[in-house]
């Protein structure tokens, strides 16, 4: 049923209805990415799988979308001086090999007819795990599970290296040792191991992997938060570009999907990023966690529907995934506009 929507006249084999859906979904995903600093690609691959795209196309197009998003975000972070190019270059090798290992796994599973199911189950675990973590931290008031936008304004010298990172730096001293920004000295092998592990995840699921790579950079390598954010994006440009190329060679990248997604997300990311100057992300992070949990359940429902051949369950899963994202993005925009109006009224009253 859903597959019938995929064919028909339009741009690059994608029907006008689907182009509009992708652009709109991209806008929503962009708002979430720009505001929370994560989650840019969490929902794209599962949504494509639920739209009956083959697993390599869903993962490959998801990765190409991440690549395009990373290019745009890196240009911004480069201007802010938040990219450690030395760390990024060292990570590229490990991530690239990891992505290739993940990609090979997808095609291997696809040859056995298991790729869609295994990837969906992995997404259920991933979305559920990250969603539970973000929700728990938000309820505790830690504000964890994303980028601390205020933190990015601090001086790099003000950041303390986490204890666990200090311990790793003192314990693992396998040469060559490298010195990174913020006076961090660490074994290149630690960096490569972190890069490889997150690369496998990226290649297998078509995600940027920033939600794991960033904490890993901070807690395993000891990189200051703003540098971790900027370097992660810089690194995704290369590894994601190469991963997209590899998937593209196997026909896994559909420009009719990626182009409208990117068109919408680039605009949404600007809006979401601007909203962080008005609204404290911690206030609505609990909804973001809830969205990931709903996403996890939705992917599970969609997969059960696919297994049973029940089109209604598949559609319900898709509606839940997209609906949860739309609700949270709408909450971000509504809170932002409300805060702006309140601020303006206060300024008007003061002026009077």
């Amino acid at each position: 049923m859903l597959g019938s929507l995929l064919s028909g006249p339009g741009f690059l084999g994608t029907s006008p209805e689907m182009l509009a859906l992708f652009a709109g979904f991209g806008l929503v995903v962009g708002v979430l990415f720009g505001f929370f600093g994560m989650g840019g690609s969490f929902l794209v691959t599962p949504a494509l799988l639920m739209l009956d795209y083959p697993a390599p196309v869903a993962v490959g197009s998801g990765m190409a979308f991440v690549f395009g998003t990373a290019v745009i975000a890196t240009l911004k972070h480069h201007d802010l001086g938040q990219v450690d190019y030395k760390l990024g270059v060292i990570m590229i090798t490990g991530t690239t090999i990891g992505i290739e290992a993940g990609r090979a796994s997808v095609y291997y599973l696809e040859s056995m007819g298991l790729a869609g199911g295994v990837i969906s189950v992995a997404y259920v675990v991933l979305l559920g795990g990250v969603g539970a973590m973000v929700t728990r931290d938000a309820l505790k008031g830690d504000g964890g599970g994303g980028v601390d936008h205020e933190a990015t304004d601090k001086d790099l010298d003000e950041y303390e290296i986490p204890e666990i990172a200090k311990k790793i730096q003192q314990t693992v001293r396998i040469p060559p040792m490298v010195t990174l920004r913020g006076d961090v000295r660490v074994s290149a092998w630690v960096i490569t191991a972190v890069a490889f592990a997150t690369g496998v995840l990226s290649g297998f699921l078509g995600v940027g992997g920033g939600f794991i790579r960033m904490p890993a950079m901070i807690y395993a390598i000891g990189v200051p938060v703003p540098v971790a954010v900027g370097t992660d994006l810089f690194e995704i440009v290369f590894s994601g570009g190469l991963g997209s190329y590899l998937y593209g060679q196997g026909g896994g990248v559909n420009l009719g999907i990626v182009a409208p997604l990117l068109f919408g997300s680039a605009l949404g990311a600007r809006v979401g990023s601007a909203a962080t100057a008005v609204v404290d992300a911690d206030e609505i992070r609990v909804y973001f966690g809830g969205m990931l949990l709903v996403g996890s359940v939705a992917v599970g429902i969609g997969e059960v529907g696919s297994y049973l051949g029940n089109a209604t369950l598949e559609l319900l899963g898709l509606v839940l995934v997209i609906g949860a994202a739309v609700v949270v993005a709408a909450a971000v925009l509504y809170t932002t506009v409300t805060s702006l109006r309140v601020t303006r009224q206060q300024q008007t009253s003061t002026a009077d």
């Binding site: 090979a104 060679q249 990248v253 182009a259 680039a266």
Partner: protein, 54 residues
Amino acid sequence: MAGLEIPSWDPETALLIGAILLEAFVLYVGYGGLERLVGPYLMDLIVGGNASAR
């Protein structure tokens, strides 16, 4: 396609990835320009007054 691969040169795929890269650059510059041009007007429209309220 299963198994680890060393990427080989494929002009068609390179063009595809190049098109995504080009789109990203165009969107970055285009939306940046658009934001400067119509941003203040849109803020007035949405917030209902002076954009400097931010």
